[in-house]
Symmetry: D2
Subunit: 436 residues, 4 copies
Amino acid sequence: MAAFPEIGKIPYEGPQSKNPLAFRHYNADEKVEGKTMRDHLRFSVVYWHTFRGTGSDPFGPGTAVRPWESGSDTVENAQNRARVAFEFIEKLGAPFYAFHDRDVAPEGKTLAESHKNLDAIVKVFKEEQQRTGIKLLWGTANLFSNPRFMHGAATSPNAEVFAYAAGQVKKALEVTHELGGVGYTFWGGREGYQCIWNTDMKRELDHLAKFLHMAVDYAKQIGFKGQFYIEPKPKEPTKHQYDSDAAACLNFLREYGLKDHLKLNLETNHATLAGHTMQHELQVAGAAGALGSIDANTGDMLLGWDTDQFPTDIYLTTQCMYEVLKYGGFTTGGVNFDAKVRRESFEPIDLFYAHIGGMDAFAQGLKIAAAMRADGKLAGIVKERYASWDSGLGAEIEGGKHSLASLEKLMLEKGEAASNRSGRQEMIENLINTYL
Amino acid sequence: MAAFPEIGKIPYEGPQSKNPLAFRHYNADEKVEGKTMRDHLRFSVVYWHTFRGTGSDPFGPGTAVRPWESGSDTVENAQNRARVAFEFIEKLGAPFYAFHDRDVAPEGKTLAESHKNLDAIVKVFKEEQQRTGIKLLWGTANLFSNPRFMHGAATSPNAEVFAYAAGQVKKALEVTHELGGVGYTFWGGREGYQCIWNTDMKRELDHLAKFLHMAVDYAKQIGFKGQFYIEPKPKEPTKHQYDSDAAACLNFLREYGLKDHLKLNLETNHATLAGHTMQHELQVAGAAGALGSIDANTGDMLLGWDTDQFPTDIYLTTQCMYEVLKYGGFTTGGVNFDAKVRRESFEPIDLFYAHIGGMDAFAQGLKIAAAMRADGKLAGIVKERYASWDSGLGAEIEGGKHSLASLEKLMLEKGEAASNRSGRQEMIENLINTYL
Amino acid sequence: MAAFPEIGKIPYEGPQSKNPLAFRHYNADEKVEGKTMRDHLRFSVVYWHTFRGTGSDPFGPGTAVRPWESGSDTVENAQNRARVAFEFIEKLGAPFYAFHDRDVAPEGKTLAESHKNLDAIVKVFKEEQQRTGIKLLWGTANLFSNPRFMHGAATSPNAEVFAYAAGQVKKALEVTHELGGVGYTFWGGREGYQCIWNTDMKRELDHLAKFLHMAVDYAKQIGFKGQFYIEPKPKEPTKHQYDSDAAACLNFLREYGLKDHLKLNLETNHATLAGHTMQHELQVAGAAGALGSIDANTGDMLLGWDTDQFPTDIYLTTQCMYEVLKYGGFTTGGVNFDAKVRRESFEPIDLFYAHIGGMDAFAQGLKIAAAMRADGKLAGIVKERYASWDSGLGAEIEGGKHSLASLEKLMLEKGEAASNRSGRQEMIENLINTYL
Amino acid sequence: MAAFPEIGKIPYEGPQSKNPLAFRHYNADEKVEGKTMRDHLRFSVVYWHTFRGTGSDPFGPGTAVRPWESGSDTVENAQNRARVAFEFIEKLGAPFYAFHDRDVAPEGKTLAESHKNLDAIVKVFKEEQQRTGIKLLWGTANLFSNPRFMHGAATSPNAEVFAYAAGQVKKALEVTHELGGVGYTFWGGREGYQCIWNTDMKRELDHLAKFLHMAVDYAKQIGFKGQFYIEPKPKEPTKHQYDSDAAACLNFLREYGLKDHLKLNLETNHATLAGHTMQHELQVAGAAGALGSIDANTGDMLLGWDTDQFPTDIYLTTQCMYEVLKYGGFTTGGVNFDAKVRRESFEPIDLFYAHIGGMDAFAQGLKIAAAMRADGKLAGIVKERYASWDSGLGAEIEGGKHSLASLEKLMLEKGEAASNRSGRQEMIENLINTYL
Ligand SMILES: [Co+2]
Ligand SMILES: [Co+2]
Ligand SMILES: [Co+2]
Ligand SMILES: [Co+2]
Ligand SMILES: [Co+2]
Ligand SMILES: [Co+2]
Ligand SMILES: [Co+2]
Ligand SMILES: [Co+2]
């Protein structure tokens, strides 16, 4: 029995369509820069928000109406929900999904029971993947909800919590592997601190690094070749998360010899909470060869918490796709909607509206970015701006032919540097508007 | 002729004093943990704010009344100002000062003329250092005020600007060396971007790294053994500075092989603009072996720009000194007041009030931090909190004896981790209040 | 059977005490400015955080260990909890408490059943108030948790929700009256908007005003003479609350003829989320004759949500009590701890630590504020600063004797205004430190 | 001799144009909702940023290249600059401009001399207005730059500063009147505080109100019928401005009997610094009948100061124009570009790029807003959402036919309110994208 009987496969109807249940821009088979939109965007639906989100917030319980839920936290209900999820993803036309272990199956009274519950769902996932062709973008373990993780998981002052988390990640890696997952993500959860006074930051970071090395080792052991990601976030739930932004993650990965093993999974709302634009974070990751995947959402710039809203701003989606294209496009990663419908959008159909809007905004962003690249005006401005480094003095400096002394000598002779050129920020902002 | 004839050497009068021109806590020769306050705190006065600050802001020109200023930007006026500065620092009783090249001497029409002007002031500095025993904590070059640096210095798209900056740093290093400077600081200036669309971030960072390597090489060449520092700041003047926080700096230093050559000079207001507490930044730097020096000030947590106010909050100064003591105290660094009097505090005597307040707040913070360390209650709480890592399972994990598989096995047997203990944040916050 | 058998009445032991379960500053019978600390501070414990808080957050369920809870949402459990609450408040020595209707009694399936459940608890409250002498600072109705209030209560686009809320407030007013409550508070709940595009702000505000007028009318009808309060908060749970800060509340009260009927209940964390210091909000309210009561807590200035932490910063508590004393002290209001223990402080004893710390911090703030007032230095500085308005030209202007024309004439003659005087901010900040 | 010889009148070339010196959307004579774009948008160029901005910032002096400037602060230079300004505005095709007294003419040594200097420029303005048909949107007095205003103008603790400011405003009103100005604006300048401890907020606000009443009286006396505006801003240059946001201004205006005399001049960057969207502020003003004019710019949501950037985001301009149209369009007000080119955009031509981009973005916003209104979908959603208030119970409540008691009775009978409807935020956000 269908959970969304009134909804068929969401069609592409083109930019003029006024149908709120159709795509205006996302045309999966349409080619952009020689590749289909499907392969460029690699859209992914997240299990946690979309199938486990209730609309609860710190001021009230859930509001979501989800007729397929039995209301009991059983394996049966979880299996049924899994079928509903695949119905949704299939009708939407997203090629991927992502999940945490505890989102998909009930936590048992023991680790063994939790493993068993998870297996029961993975069985359904496999069947549904087979049936629909939908794939797993990445799996992960929820190491933050259960009270045992109140002080962190790998960074807990309680060594047995580290051990428990290790057991949980081992299983999550196994099922991700079993499901053919293309990646595996570590998001910080409660790896950080609430109270700096009671915290041994260095020791906690040592433990976190050890934990990640164990995961890397185990993946090799079982032959899991998916990409590992680390997802930066500056705060929430802890007062300060260790993986606060792209630079903090890279610093940590470099310090502990992990940089070759993990790329970054960047989220817009996390970027802005950390004081950066998403475009900045994408460039930091890209420049370090660590741009892995993106958690596509948006925050409210006037709110100080992670609102995880669906992205509809085409400036934002253009920026994202421009950077993704610049760094060669996604390989293992994709556009994963780590986003949730508002508490007031409590009907099942709102899940469709929300994802359609996000997918369309990203498809439009992709087309705009490709247009910007096609005429090359912006790239030309940048190239011209750095022209002094392409030959002569600049090239000599880049080539290692200068020292403070040789450059001082040069400038003592010249007296003053060559004139600067206008940065043309306003003209560039206008130029971008011409592609919209 | 004295600039501050009505002010003598600022005396220590003890906590009961009501004299606004006396110290209540800073007693230079008093020993704390076996070392004098003077040697613990290593107070430093900054030339730029204290002797070049006018009180101008984006909405109006300067207000400061500085009777010793002739009003003309001549070497003579600059030399006279230098004498006034030493009179001030001596009366205040601070053992150090810090400066930028362009703060102390007028910029000439050519680099050569600027060099010459600088030499004329350095001559006075040497005499005054000799006369008073005051030392140079660190020197630096102003690579951001002159319009030539509008797009950055080492990261300018204009290669000749890089060259000019190199010449300027060479000279600044030489005079810092000549004055026996204990350190040399790089603060980002305009090394960052206003408009990410016109910026090649990777190429700019490559240039910045090359620039710092040149400085390291030149220091070695001239025998300058002072410590190099890099000072994080997230924004202002640019929309985004590359050296945005401690982690971003460390990531950069690691990436470009500079970590052994530079430590961090941390500033409170920069920390909070980046979304971190100063205590956080101190721990990040300390854990990385990169805690160099501090720019002591405070921001206004409700304002979004660098207000550089004098620090008077003893919670803040306690946090600073607790971390400094924890990481072994300053070696080359010190407590450098990168702070300015408010625009409305326009009289010379306000400079005294401001510095006295800052020094007293840090001296009180030092005494409180030492008391906290003396009874060891807080350290005991932390030690106890991580006790599970000191033996048994925790010690085995730290010792590399475990894998995901061995830990899973353990937890499958146990079923659940040992209970957690309360974080006791409220009790700890109360405890800290008992030391005030 | 006692819920806290190991805890007796919290004693006052004086500033030297190291006992974490004793007061160091709060000495209820000690007189300050001729009035006991008890009567100055009028401490109040909130039922919602302290007895209904579980430590859940958006990333995980509750952690709190509360042995007295049966785990079922029954009237019996609620009655038992009420007895525990009074045991706690009595041992703590707070003279007041505050509650929402739905915190204290289970919500029924109908409004009638909810009323009945509430009555069952009010009965226990009356007995316990009688037994202990503890009083009700204010009551209120929870008009935000139940999903029916998802779009607001008085501002809901659903008229029946307005009606339901009216019924709930009627009952809450009655029980507050029955319990001898000194006040009744309206906090915005979800009165605001998530999405400005779907919102008719003007119509919603008209409804809110009507709602408050109905409450004022009904209070008069039943003879409830307690003070009504409105509590500003800028955001959370909605994207934008209508009662965003003191000024917004006053503007609303003035516009709708409600200013004589409601005062403000100010909360520190709400003030800072709105971009103001608590001291600012206290002055805005005080100057408008609307300073009613305070919700004593603190936020984390680097986090963007309402953390509702216990206040321990004595600068903050000094500012609060200085303003409260300046405006004549509390009449109906008090220091109400709208604060919660951290999720990681999950043991019952943490509730004691937290409240003791908050009470001590406020008691210390009261003593410091009184000392500042006793020597009058600060007030003297302010008086002197405005001296030009006390006679001559200033007095003439205040007395209405001038116009633009007469003042222009004066200044055309004088040419320039008299010199300004330094604002002395740094000296004042140092001065405040001398009282700590 | 033309200052911009290479630039002619900026033409409208339509959406397909790639000419950066042409409009793609602003077609002055094109009608939208029956009125020309010219009359809808009433674009205004600000004298201060555009002709007096140098690009200086707290970290360096100006960068702007302005060949027409003689470099001396003379009346002659000011007169020449005025001619340049009108050449620019005319070529741009903006029908209005706005100025501060001290922007346009040099401040003299006495008030009398300043008056005389101003008159010399006003003479040129009159000639140029005549010649070009350009009009004055509003005038104002700069009461914040001169050090005499360091502690405020009308709120200065120095009564003579109040008097001086009064003289200055009198003159500014006279010249605004003489130039046929359609309005006169009060922006707070330094009316606020840096240090709350040394401030008597109530007394300062009393003075501010008196000052505004004097201005209102004088306007009546001289027959000036232009609209007065007050412009909210929360901070900068002071730590806290009194006119912090729309609600704070309205509260002040109501308290002091000024609401009939002043409307609001809203600025986007000020709105966001205060924690509100511009759309929110427009609605607050509109609902209070106080929506006067807008200072069109944008801030950087990740920077905490007033960046005053040119607005190019069409979501923003759509929101602005949707609200302006909703409240009946501008009467006296307009779209005034209180915006400045970036320090790095230092060439004269950047002034054209910047204004063209802003005008086009607003013209596009106007067309989008009109399209949204034309099909009425959004308005229909809102109307439907509040339908329960249009008849039956809702209409009875609005009509004053209910009390808490009557509503309780109703709900005791019904037991529960009627179901809510989804807020449809995501669908609405998608809908808006269809108009872009
Ligand atoms: Co995410
Ligand atoms: Co998120
Ligand atoms: Co600094
Ligand atoms: Co700073
Ligand atoms: Co509250
Ligand atoms: Co709160
Ligand atoms: Co403005
Ligand atoms: Co502005």
